[in-house]
Amino acid sequence: MDQPLHLAVIAAAAWAAGTLAWVWLGVRGFGRRVLLAPPAGDPAAGVRYAFTAAMLPWAKESVRMHLPSYATGIVFHLGTFVAFGLLAATVAGFELPPALAPTGAIVMLAGAGAGLALLVKRIATPFLRGLSSPDDFIANLLTTSFGALAAVTLLHPQLESAWLITAVVLLVYLPVGKIRHCVVFFSSRAYMGAFFGYRGTFPSARQGR
């Protein structure tokens, strides 16, 4: 029963990887901006800063002001990453050491809970509701269900089929909507870091010039 589903997951993952690569190549296809103004700083240092300290509460006001949302987002992502790890292990035929199962299940359940909390926040906050398209709700529901079912599957392996079907749907949907940020997040942040690094604003203007 599970063998065809494993193949379906592999096919869906191939689709996701291929289409995400298509998205990434499409972005790259817009070409690089050739900068002629001499740099005031180091773009590479800007990129490093953008991916590290610039994301922490003391450097980022939006994080400081919204610590619960920020923490919820991190837990949501952590749970999702663990669920994808479990999916890869399952399809590859690796057995998770039994001792790790409760911890994995807790992390993934927490992630799913966080996803649900973010969904409730989106519905309950007028400006977030106004900002949302159907994709915002579908992407969240799919990811949250995927994480929750992964956790449940660890405890009740007989439910694996339902989880794998959810995984297939999620992987097929992944490049269509906002979950594509799993790729463009990295390029966006890198471009932003390089921009401010080139201009000497990052690592931090407090170091000045």
Partner: protein, 450 residues
């Protein structure tokens, strides 16, 4: 001339296509990534001074981005073409043009504070500049903003000051400088061939704030600097092409500076105290002209810092006893990378310097950036959005706000009235000039006492 609304109504399909083509032509990989990346988390909302002072959906940076991204998705992505409703893709039509106009001209100063606070790291101002460029290509730049650009193109300065008035003002200020310093040899040189420094100013200085120009001249005098102003186009550092986002026009205005440097044979172009002037000359100018400058360029803040650090000038901070705070112009600091020279200068020149919170790259825009000062239609929003800066200023308890930008100064003076802040607004050079210590033989003889 037809109103913007009438012009939007009269847009043809060909004009819309042209606008979209121009928009596409301004995008590079960075902007394409940004347009694919927003997750609608909404954490950017509180970073925006428009939203903080008026918490409405249309003021959320992500919403402003969404208008632009919707058209991008619809016309340039597969998902947007196939399932537009699902992913929030919408066609670039008249309704969309109205939304762009309202968002990128009417509700944004291109300050970039949202970029630093974005979960993803989306550079919204870069995207909005592409959108403004598309609107410009369709003739939809607000008239008063375009008039400012046209002044620069036609008269060589954005306030249409005649050469005669400019030269008269400089000569009058030179006499004032001689009286102030007691040095009959104190000069405000015009068209001095081969001078080391070509100093450029904001036309608001000769027009409304001549003492600001005189203060810079006094600092140069004290430092014994070899400098000059240009009498012909090239003396005005402003470039509202940065705001109407017509790169061809912006390039022509930048060319005035390059021509003046080449005409006078100067080696260093010094940009006076102006945020967008620095940003456009330092960062965007070479891109607009598609060539590197054959000369050095720096901000006058960096120059004054160098004078003080090297001991070329000396100051007595007790001459500026009132508490002073510093405003960080977005184009100079967040987008310009110049944050510390002005601080070093002020710490030496004033007795009581207090930082705003937040400051430097996290500082709030005053509300006058992005060409807002030139767009009367959005004045009420501008003044309301400036409320964040007013709060910041009030919290410092400062009596003097130093703003190294004449556009910001105009906005801060309006905020001063609107929010009854009871402050004075000055430039860095004015504070330095006030604190200058000179004695003995006159600096015009090259013997500044430090």
């Amino acid at each position: 001339m037809a109103s913007l609304e009438e012009r939007i109504d009269a847009l043809t399909e060909a004009q819309l296509r042209h606008g979209l083509e121009v928009f596409r032509s301004k995008l590079r990989a960075a902007e394409a990534a940004y347009l694919n990346a927003c997750v609608h988390c909404g954490l950017c909302a509180d970073s925006c001074h428009y939203y903080r002072t008026e918490p409405a959906l249309e003021n959320v940076p992500a919403r402003k981005l969404d208008h632009v991204a919707a058209a991008f998705k619809r016309h340039f992505t597969t998902a947007g073409r196939l399932v537009p409703r699902l992913v929030g893709a919408r066609p670039f039509d008249r309704a969309m043009v109205r939304a762009w106009l309202d968002s990128v001209f009417g509700r944004c100063t291109l300050c970039g504070r949202c970029s630093l606070n974005c979960t993803i790291g989306i550079g919204l101002p870069r995207v909005f500049r592409a959108a403004r460029a598309a609107l410009a290509a369709m003739g939809l730049v607000p008239d008063d903003l375009q008039a400012t650009v046209d002044n620069s193109l036609v008269h060589g300065n954005n306030m249409a000051i005649t050469k005669e008035d400019w030269v008269d003002t400089v000569q009058w200020l030179e006499e004032e400088l001689q009286m102030e310093t007691g040095d009959p040899g104190a000069r405000i040189p015009l068209d001095k061939q081969g001078a080391r420094v070509l100093f450029t100013v904001n036309p608001r200085e000769p027009k409304f704030f001549p003492l600001s120009l005189q203060a810079s001249a006094k600092v140069f005098w004290a430092a014994g600097e070899d400098w000059t102003l240009a009498s012909d186009p090239g003396w005005d550092l402003t470039n509202y092409g940065l705001f109407n986002c017509n790169d061809e026009q912006a390039g022509r205005i930048t060319q005035n500076l390059v021509d003046a440097m080449e005409r006078l044979g100067c080696t260093t172009l010094v940009i006076g105290e102006c945020g967008h002037g620095f940003g456009s000359a330092r960062w965007e100018g070479p891109e607009w002209l598609q060539r590197r400058y054959p000369f050095e360029l720096c901000s006058v803040l960096e120059l004054m810092d160098e004078y003080l650090t090297s001991g070329r000038i000396a100051v007595d901070p007790s001459r500026n006893p009132k508490p002073v705070t510093l405003h960080d112009p977005c184009n100079l600091v967040r987008h310009g990378g110049v944050s510390e020279p002005q601080r070093r200068v002020l710490r030496r020149s004033v007795a009581h310097f207090v930082e705003m919170t937040p400051s430097r790259e996290q500082s709030f825009c005053c509300g006058g950036g992005g060409g807002q000062l030139a767009m009367a239609a959005y004045k009420d929003r501008r003044i309301r959005a400036g409320g964040m800066k007013a709060q910041q200023i009030r919290a410092t308890g400062a009596e003097i706000v130093v703003a190294p930008c004449h556009n910001c100064i105009d906005q801060l003076m309006e905020l001063n009235k609107e929010y009854t802040l009871g402050i004075q607004v000055k430039t860095v050079a004015e504070m330095v000039a006030e604190a200058l210590v000179t004695a003995g033989p006159s600096p015009s003889e090259g013997k500044t006492t430090t």
